[in-house]
Each structure stands twice: as structure tokens, then as C-alpha cells.
Amino acid sequence: MRNVLAALLTGVIFGAGLTLSDMTNPARVIAFLDLFGAWDPTLAFVMGGALVPSALAYVVTRRMRRPLLHTAFHIPENRTLDRQLLIGGAIFGLGWGLVGYCPGPALAGLALGAWQTWLFAGAMLAGMWLHSVTDLPILRSRSGLVRS
């Protein structure tokens, strides 16, 4: 139960941050992605601000045996750069640039009154489901391109 409350609280803070920084406005995000036009640097400030507490928390976890409310840390340990990671990242980036929404702002934005947000979020869920039922050979093999 305490972990449910922690998840809810962190979700609320996360959604507040996305909205305060205008990441819930696709036009703002596209203006940031318009590197070759009238570039709007807002998202760089958002990312910079977000990385500071996040990085500090990782430093603190090295001195902790376990999280405060849970039995173990669940931090991904995979360090292999595989095909899925890069193809997936590229597909995601194209969709992001097309509309200006990534998953966090699309979900936070559901409460901000634009019907387009609901349409996008529905399509995003459909895309996630499609991935779960797709079994293309090129996406299946977990062969690493670079091992570090």
C-alpha cells in the first residue's frame, strides 16, 4: 500500500513537472525539435533540470542496501546495445516529431481538455499492443551490436 501511494505521489509530481514546463504542449516540443528553424531551447532546460535530482538519487542509492519502502532496487543491468533498442528509439523519435507528444506528456495532457490528446494516447496504446503481438524476425533476435 505504501508503494502504491509512493507511485501515485511520484506520478502527480511528474505530471506537474511536465505541465509546468510546457512539455504537455506539442507545439512547444516541435519547436524544440525544429533545430533547423526557429529553435526553442525550452526542452533542454527541462531535461537539464530533471537530470540533476535524478542523478543525485542514483549516487545516494549506492550507499543504500534497499529502497526505503521495498525489498530491492530494480535498476536495469543490461548494457548491450542491440538492434531493438536503436530501431525502437528511431521509430519512437519519428512519432514524437510527427505530433510532438511522447508518452508522459500524452498521459498528463489527457486532463487538459484537447481531444487530440485522447486520440494520440489511444493510438499509442494500440502501438504498444501491436508490438506485443508482433513477431518479426528482425526484431526478435537479441544479437548485440556492441557489447560494453
Binding site: N3, V4, A6, A7, L8, T10, G11, V12, I13, F14, G15, A16, G17, L18, T19, L20, D22, N25, P26, L33, G37, P41, T42, V46, A50, L51, V52, S54, A57, Y58, V60, T61, P67, P76, Q84, L86, G88, G89, I91, G93, W96, G97, L98, V99, Y101, C102, P103, G104, G109, A114, Q116, T117, L119, F120, G122, A123, L125, G127, M128, L130
Partner: protein, 142 residues
């Protein structure tokens, strides 16, 4: 579109990072929105407990409402046509599952711990986003 005060952008970023930090320190989890959504809806069958993922996902719009009600009225300007919105959503959903994360999981959480996968993923989706918008705006002229 009015420029956003960089300090407001920075403050929003700090909130996002604080949320990621708290979730890690309290529950030991990565605040990755695409993974949380897949888990909350049952599309992913591993990860945090479904109830935890659902609570996180429900928190996002609540946070948006709090800012909209007490801090500033946010604009939501979507210029894409209906087919493009659908195509974009499908690509974002499929791509984030295939690549195991999005701007939050790879960008905010993974980059903060210098994960090579997250740095590569973030570089890739940023490059694809720059490329797409560059082509749409300056080649096709949409």
C-alpha cells in the same frame, strides 16, 4: 507562441527529476512512463506490480490538473491532422516498447545513471525527432 521563462522550464524539469528520484529511493523503480503504461494496461507482463504502475499513470493527469488549477493555464496546441496523430501515436507506442523506454525512462532515468543503452536510445530518438521535424518543416513544408 510566447517563449517560456527558462526558470519555469528549469523548475518543471526539477519536479520531473524529483519524481524520478523519489520513486527510485522509495520503491527502487525507474520512472519510465512507457513501461509503466504498458504494465498498468497489462500489455507488459513483467515489471512493477500492476497496482503500482496504475497509480503512477493516474498520477500524471492529476499533476497536470494541479498546475492548470493553481499555477498557470497551459496551452495544448496540436497542429497535426487526424491521420498524422494516429500514425504518431502508433509509432510512439510501438517504438517505445521495442526500444524499452522513452524520454523519461531513457532520457531522465537512464542518462542520469550513465547507462550506455539509454544514452544510445536518447541520441537515436532525438536525432529521429530532429530529422522528422526538419524534413516536415523545411523540405515538405507541412
Amino acid at each position: 507562441m510566447e517563449p517560456l521563462d527558462p526558470f519555469v522550464a528549469l523548475a518543471g524539469g526539477l519536479l520531473i527529476g524529483t519524481a524520478a528520484a523519489l520513486l527510485l529511493l522509495l520503491s527502487g523503480r525507474i520512472a519510465g512512463v512507457s513501461g509503466m503504461l504498458a504494465r498498468a494496461t497489462g500489455i507488459a507482463d513483467s515489471g512493477p506490480r500492476r497496482s503500482h504502475a496504475l497509480a503512477f499513470v493516474l498520477g500524471l493527469p492529476i499533476g497536470a490538473v494541479l498546475i492548470a488549477g493553481f499555477v498557470r493555464a497551459p496551452d495544448v496546441i496540436v497542429t497535426s491532422s487526424i491521420p498524422l496523430i494516429i500514425a504518431g501515436g502508433l509509432l510512439v507506442g510501438f517504438g517505445t516498447r521495442l526500444g524499452n523506454g522513452c524520454t523519461s525512462g531513457h532520457g531522465v532515468c537512464g542518462m542520469a545513471r550513465l547507462s550506455p543503452r539509454s544514452i544510445a536510445a536518447t541520441a537515436t530518438f532525438m536525432a529521429a525527432g530532429f530529422l522528422l521535424v526538419g524534413v516536415m518543416r523545411h523540405v515538405i513544408g507541412a
